[in-house]
Amino acid sequence: MTDQMLRDLLEERVSGVAVPDLSAGAWRTGRRARRRTRLAVLGAAAAATAAVTLGGAVLTGTGRTTQPAPPPGGPTLTSAPTPPTAEPDARYEGVPVWWSVGREQEGDLSPVDDSPLPEVIDLRSAPTAERPDRAVAAFAVGDQVRLVDPSGAQLSLSLDRLDDVTKPNGYRYRPVSHSMLSPTGEYLVFPQDDSVEVYTLATGQWRSIDTGDRVTRFVTWVGDDSFVLPGSASGGGDVLDVRGDLVSPGGTQMRSPRLRPGFDTRTAQAFGLTRRSPGGSEAQAWGMGVPVPVADPGKHLAEPEFVAARVGGVTRVLAILWEIHDEGRYLQCCPVAGWLDDRTLVYESRQTDPALVAWTVGSDEFRLVSRIEGSYAVASFAQLWQD
């Protein structure tokens, strides 16, 4: 069978196909979609306003008056996001469970519409960006951080100036983490033994903030330009801003509590950050150790990693399917990267062909946000929803 024969045969196969005029109906449907998008943007703005108010309320718990005033006559969020209603694949301890797509099928997923990230993030390509004002994602690659800006262009930032950080047991490691990129993508923060180093994208300036005897290893952003220095992985600590000013003293600012799925998780370990959407949905990745059901116990690893997600006050679980002899997935494969909207979370699929996958919580709808080409140690994400 030659190429030309195949071309002729395909041409012959559809030569008799005729089409009714689809253009008018398509225009009407497209126009409705544009209107829905505009309404969604207004809704997101309302949700963002509510989220800012909620975020401020955490800080005001310390007695400081940092809570933003509600805009006069501005929109208010009056109801929680409507929870999806699709039937789950299974239940565990009464909690509905959905199964993820397989590792090798992720590349075949349809792309999300209007993604905040490019379809392909090629970490092996030469950096292309002038210094951006902000980034959507930061990938630790060797001794650099690759910053991906909203257009998909990349900037490479050297971490030469940073020393390794020392744990109490003497173990030293590079100070990159899920927490390094700020929520707006304007700053990076890195712990050092006696300071934190803040990089401002817009100016390209580093600022070294002396932290005295505070523990710095668990530094986590709690606002657009403020971070907490917890004394332990689950403890509280002082809140500082990017100028080094103390925002909330005395260990009263707690790190965000882990979202728990509603069943016993003592045999599993949470990893990555608990991510929150503008309307208050939450998601957290958990490691192996809990007998959450899998699609085929003869084929998939038991006690799988899973993501717990709470939307509209209802918690659902996504079990990450991992074929028993598949060495392509990495342990702690799927930390939550963020939310596209109040129903759609994004998780990293860390594997030989890494990807960012969107799951509409409580449904079997999965879409591809980005394929990632090249390897990286850890990734950190700004907020992914678009205001």
Binding site: L9, V14, S23, A33, Q105
Partner: protein, 170 residues
């Protein structure tokens, strides 16, 4: 402004909808589903017309068709196992036989393999554009197409023979 946009979209869609439908029929093997895919793709182009009109609306529409079909196929594959249609009978009309054999050979491919074959050999897209439509690398297009053609040959020797006979008569 709206009416001018609608007019330009309608002109473009009127020109390209048949080509898109024929691609979709080859991707799916089902005229009705192909029409649904094209309708959906055109609506998505219409929703983004101001942005796409001066760029590459057909590439975008083709990408929507290809990827939506692959997603549909992946979901259906878990639920329904379909057998390819009847085998051609001896003495049948040659063009009908060829069509049945082609449908059978295409039906045995994965959605991505099938799309690679259709985009490369029907739409005549270069490897790079095929890769963009599928959302994969150029290397993946090469290997996917290679495996697809090999499988077509191996699974349908009659098709290869029949095509060979047609070529000799010409």
């Amino acid at each position: 402004m709206e009416s001018e946009s609608e007019a330009s979209f309608t002109r473009w869609a009127g020109d390209r909808q048949l080509a898109l439908l024929r691609t979709a029929v080859l991707l799916t093997g089902d005229h009705h589903r192909a029409e649904d895919l094209v309708q959906d793709a055109l609506a998505k182009v219409a929703a983004r017309w101001e942005r796409l009109r001066d760029e590459a609306p057909e590439s975008y529409a083709r990408k929507v068709i290809v990827r939506t079909n692959i997603s549909w196929w992946r979901k259906q594959r878990r639920e329904v196992v379909t057998e390819p249609g009847d085998r051609p009978v001896d003495g049948g009309e040659p063009s009908v036989d060829r069509r049945i054999l082609l449908d059978q050979a295409l039906a045995r491919l994965t959605a991505r393999q099938r799309a690679a074959v259709v985009l490369r050999y029907y739409d005549d897209l270069p490897e790079r554009e095929t890769a963009e439509a599928l959302g994969v690398s150029v290397g993946t297009v090469k290997s996917t197409t290679h495996h697809a053609l090999r499988q077509m040959r191996e699974s349908s020797p009659e098709l290869a023979e029949l095509l060979g006979a047609v070529e000799e008569v010409r």
